[in-house]
């Protein structure tokens, strides 16, 4: 019988012929923990007397959510991860190396593999044709120690995308539009499979943005075929030998099929306090913005910084609007320096924050004041997300963010492109 991408990968990893609805115990290729969820995972393994990693070279511990540490409690939490890495041989990705999801795709994940991560946006690696999903600390702890996890094979929604993006419209607008259309629980428990001519033509950066936000529709995974674009990305990252083709069978069974033509899509913004509360630019332009954040695992890649730097070159941020820029990883940061993007952004008034999760998680580096509004390129705008339940978060593309920084209000980016 024909299979979806999820069914193929989970069949291979469980040694079964698995279809949607089946429960499998699957081998995992890689696991990740971060500084918010990792200490609890380590404590769980200590309770079990199983403080080990079945595959230390594919177990990656990230200090990214509060990096560098703003408080002693977090410094001590970081020590738990550093000590675990020393004792087990697991890899430590320390302060400044970047956000876990960006780092996983840059250096660790390959097509056809299974990744579990104690972070909801672990689904980002689905863009490489890997089955990647977020879980809690205990699930990932047991996965690290045993090399296995249990999974229910998800039904798949096919998202077939056609058409070319208009000037000023990007994959971020597509995913916000899609979540607005199906709702924040529209794909709960399902896998999303993105395909069609627009996806075939999309670069890896755009695919990462889409996969990253699959969980914001409730999905368990956001999957893509592994194609020539994937192969070139892996070659650039020094692991072309890890490429393999992955694609769904032509007559695989999908629970639902969505067809989206992006040629009429407009800049789309998620308004407080849910990601599915979307509006197009003309219906929200003019809303005053106190802070702009360009970065995160959703849109902190070199392609995103190029867009922002081009728009902000020779311009200044609005005097009443703070502009924060946070490259998603050290490699992105270095490339942005080499290309002169960082200089342009700083000249325009940006505060550049070291790679990490920064203000997005509300721990440090850009917490909102009461009643303040932020336009961020991140994936989530829940009440309290950026450290203050009295703050308001709008989500948009890097272009929308740069336009908001210039005008001090939500604005159409096209006039600056």
């Amino acid at each position: 019988m024909s299979k979806t991408i999820a069914e193929k990968i989970l069949s291979e990893h469980s040694g079964t012929g698995a279809y949607a609805g089946d429960i499998v115990v699957a081998d995992i290729d890689a696991a990740l923990l971060q500084d918010g969820t990792g200490p609890l995972a380590v404590q769980q393994l200590q309770k079990l007397g199983m403080e080990k990693a079945a595959r230390p070279e594919r177990t990656v511990l990230f200090i990214d959510h509060a990096a560098p540490s703003p408080r002693k409690e977090l410094s001590n939490a970081h020590k738990i991860l550093r000590d675990f890495a020393t004792r087990t041989g697991a890899i430590l990705s320390d302060v400044n190396e970047g956000v876990c999801h960006q780092r996983m795709v840059e250096d660790y994940m390959n097509p056809g593999e299974v990744l579990i991560g104690a972070d909801s946006h672990t689904c980002t690696a689905g863009a490489l044709g890997a089955f990647a999903t977020g879980m809690g600390s205990t699930d990932v702890a047991i996965g690290i120690a045993s090399g296995k996890t249990w999974l229910r094979v998800p039904e798949t929604f096919k998202v077939y995308v056609t058409g070319g993006f208009k000037k000023g419209v990007y994959p971020k607008d597509l995913i916000l539009h899609f979540i607005g259309m199906i709702g924040a629980d529209g794909a709960t428990y399902k896998a999303l499979e993105f395909c069609g001519p627009t996806i075939d033509a999309m670069d890896m950066s755009g695919r990462f943005t889409l996969a990253n936000m699959a969980v914001e529709a409730g999905a368990k995974a956001g999957l893509f075929a592994s194609d020539e674009t994937t192969r070139k990305y892996l070659e650039e990252r020094g692991r072309g030998d890890k490429w393999r083709p992955i694609a769904a069978d032509p007559d695989a069974t999908y629970e639902r099929v969505f067809e989206i033509d992006v040629s009429e899509l407009e800049s789309t913004i998620s308004c407080p306090h849910t990601v599915d509360n979307t509006k197009t630019i003309e219906n929200i332009a003019g809303t005053k913005i106190d802070q702009v954040l360009i970065g995160t695992c959703t849109n902190g890649r070199i392609e995103d910084l190029r867009i922002a730097a081009k728009m902000l070159e020779g311009r200044s941020r609005h005097p009443n609007t703070r502009l924060l820029v946070c490259p998603a990883s050290r490699d992105v940061y270095l490339k942005a320096i080499e290309e002169g993007l960082i200089a342009k952004l700083i000249a325009a008034g940006a505060a550049v924050i070291n790679p990490g999760c920064a203000a997005c998680v509300g721990v440090h580096a850009g917490i909102l004041g009461d009643g303040e509004a932020c336009l961020a390129t991140q994936n989530r705008n829940f009440k309290g997300r950026m450290g203050n339940p009295e703050g308001f978060i709008y989500l948009g593309s890097p272009a929308v963010a740069a336009a908001a920084a210039i005008e001090g209000a939500i604005a159409d980016p096209r006039k600056y492109l």
Binding site: L40, D119, T138, A184, D185, T274, F382, K383, R385
Partner: protein, 167 residues
């Protein structure tokens, strides 16, 4: 497992940021302290008012957002007997079972703030004693019943020396 207590009613889309906010990130290694703030951004008084065996009753997509297992853990530490909602976000649902917090998918529109409930978790039967109505929950998947009956995933793994889910 029979539990009797009072309903604390919340709306749709209660996120992990409502339950365990990011601004309290530094308390994640101090769960008893974090539990004093449980659901603070949905109801600042909740942690003070809740009594052992009480119920958290949500609407749609309860627990959406982060993978932080601290969210169901501190609901359990606060003494909550079970969480009832029309639907749950996937990771929260799985985490709740893993930490031994019963979660029941059911029609919560017939439950109001302060209603007295009696819940049989195993059978998925909810009696609203205040309103005199009975509600049936969707059964948990078999694998999750096994994990919950063992007291959580850690206990399951410890007891069986690995996954014993009969898949």
């Amino acid at each position: 497992m029979q539990i009797k207590g009072k309903a604390f009613k919340f709306g749709d889309s209660i996120s992990t940021d409502h339950i365990a906010p990011g601004r309290l990130f530094h308390l994640r290694t101090n769960l008893p302290e974090l539990a004093k703030h449980v659901l603070e951004d949905a109801d600042p008084e909740f942690a003070k008012k809740v009594k052992p065996g009480d119920f958290v009753v949500g609407g749609k997509n309860f627990g959406l957002g982060s993978s932080r297992e601290h969210a169901p853990t501190i609901i359990k530490l606060a003494g909550v007997g079970a969480v009832l909602a029309q639907s749950f976000a996937r990771i929260f649902y799985r985490n709740a079972i893993n930490v031994g917090l019963p979660v029941l998918i059911c029609d919560t529109t017939q439950i109001d703030q302060g209603d007295e409930l009696e819940v049989d978790v195993g059978k998925g039967e909810i009696k609203n004693l205040t309103k005199g109505v009975s509600i049936t929950a969707k059964p948990l998947p078999d694998v999750m019943i096994k994990i919950l009956n063992d007291g959580g995933l850690l206990e399951h793994f410890h007891k069986h020396g690995g996954f014993a889910l009969d898949v």
